[in-house]
Amino acid sequence: MTVEMDLVLTVARRELRDTIRSKLLWIYAACFAILSAVLTLTGLSGAQLAGSGGYGRTAASLVALVQTLVPLMGLTLGALTVAGARERGALRFVLAHPVSRTEVLGGTFLGLATALCGSVAAGFGLEGVIGAISGAPGSPSSLLILSGLSALLATSMLAVGMAIGAGSTRSSAALGLSILAWLLLVFVGDLGIMGTALATRMPVSVLFFSVASNPVEAFRIAAVPTFGSSLDVLGPAGSYAVDSLGSASGLLAAAVMTVWIVVPALIGLRRFLRSDA
């Protein structure tokens, strides 16, 4: 069946309006903006003592902040929106119209992704303004690239969250699963790979690709070079990337995040098509 884009956009506009009015998004956006502003201001005082190295530490802190907070935003927002709409009956209300499930899920994804990326961009915008006013070292272009990579990570986590929500009948279950996915991707996955690498004497190439297959780590691999640091700071896997892939490691990481948008979106769609409204 053909997808009618005007119907997708109608659903997306309503979702965007609804999400902008949601408290959850505002809480996340405020947390992100405040924490990134604090990191910038703290880094600035360091930069006065350590020069451009201070900026490097600020950027590294920002990467860590994005790695922690943005996946939580995307996963919970995606899971709660779809499962919550089903639980409240709002999904049934929309699906009773002459609109396909693919159009509804596609529009919901588009509306949520716009709201989520907008809130991430607003956080980086605030940080850029603070940096510009206080004369912080670092280029606006690296901030823009970091902002774009963050949006890519946010969208991939949103797709995972929606895949969770698409098959859930209760928003509490969807929230629980999305937080579990956050713990696995942000904390447990990295530790698990490190433990496995130590226990099995994993070849460094396998170690790198195992690490890079995690979208949160892929973001870090793509983000670190944007503020002038070498991937060597990431350890043996980073050194392997520098030696074997060079600048292509950033493209590979971006491709991994893109795959983490497409595959969960297709899984979510399949679950959504098979579930009762």
């Binding site: 119907l7 309503r14 209300f93 699906l95 009773a96 119209h97 002459p98 396909s100």
Partner: protein, 284 residues
């Protein structure tokens, strides 16, 4: 216009609808009648393509398993549970629904006027009363002048006054070219709105008959509270009892239990026995 053949819906081991076949012709008004949990709403959800099922459902020329979107273009639906987006205003909700249905915006005010919502267009949907929300649901169902109206318990959760006005509104929506398929467990509502009744019990069709025959076929009893002009309430009750009609004095009147299709017999018996009837209410 609607053909349902061997419809079965299971939720795990529980069979919500069991091998149901129903046909509804153009211009017909059919009620799915039965107690809560009988399977009426599940039939409506399957008809809209909202739930997977066994069996075949055709709406117009479309099989809902493969062409649910096209089938829904022919349908206006009033759901049992009114779940709108509460932050949207009435106007925004109607506009959203109209865009999904590809309805000309110029006709929206006409639809809102039909259901008496024109004075509430700027209010958030969440602030509307139950009756007004029900009217909004009917307005959304009417957008695009659909050939089929599916009304799932259209008066549930309404007070008596709102219920009467909604039933009148729905009655006016009947037309020779439109199919009305409603679910209800209110006998009077079914009698007023439907030509034919399909009665459900535990997911199965147990009876099909004309709407006026339903009460009698199911052996349903009504309670009448009758006020008489003069005379003893005890004597009036005794007069009815002598005709084999159960009756008791009750406050300012006589409470009568009678077959739902034979209420007039009780009133006539009171008149014949010299107890002129001033007023009466149907309590059930």
């Amino acid at each position: 216009m609607i053909t349902i053949e061997h419809l079965t819906k299971r939720y795990g081991d529980f069979v919500a609808v069991d091998d149901v076949s129903i046909g509804v012709a153009a211009g017909e008004a059919v009620a799915l009648w039965g107690p809560n949990g009988a399977g009426k709403t599940t039939v409506i959800r399957c008809l809209l393509g909202l739930a997977s099922h066994e069996g075949t459902i055709r709406v117009g020329a479309y099989d809902t398993s493969t062409h649910a979107k096209q089938a829904r273009r022919l349908i206006g639906h009033v759901p049992q549970e009114l779940a709108f987006f509460n932050d949207l205003t009435v106007d925004e909700t109607v506009e959203f629904s109209a865009q999904l249905k590809r309805v000309d915006f110029e006709s929206l005010n006409q639809t809102l006027e039909t259901v008496g919502l024109l004075d509430h267009t700027n209010k958030p949907v969440g602030s509307l009363s139950g009756g007004l929300k029900q009217r909004l649901a009917i307005a959304l169902a009417l957008l695009g002048d659909p050939q089929i109206l599916l009304l799932d318990e259209p008066t549930s959760n309404l007070d008596a006054a709102s219920r009467d006005s909604i039933v009148r509104l729905l009655h006016d929506l009947r037309s020779p070219s439109r199919v009305l398929l409603l679910t209800s467990h209110h006998l009077e509502e079914v009698g007023l709105l439907a030509d034919r009744v399909v009665a459900f019990e535990s997911g199965k069709v147990v009876l099909e008959c004309g709407s006026q025959e339903l009460g009698e076929r199911l052996g349903l009893q009504s309670w009448l509270h009758v006020r008489i002009r003069n005379g003893s309430l005890d004597d009036a009750s005794a007069a009815l009892n002598s005709h084999g009609i159960k009756a008791w004095p009750n406050k300012q009147g006589v409470l009568v239990e009678v077959s739902s299709q034979r209420k007039g017999i009780a009133l006539r018996a009171l008149e014949d026995a010299g107890f002129p009837v001033v007023d009466f209410e149907v309590w059930r």
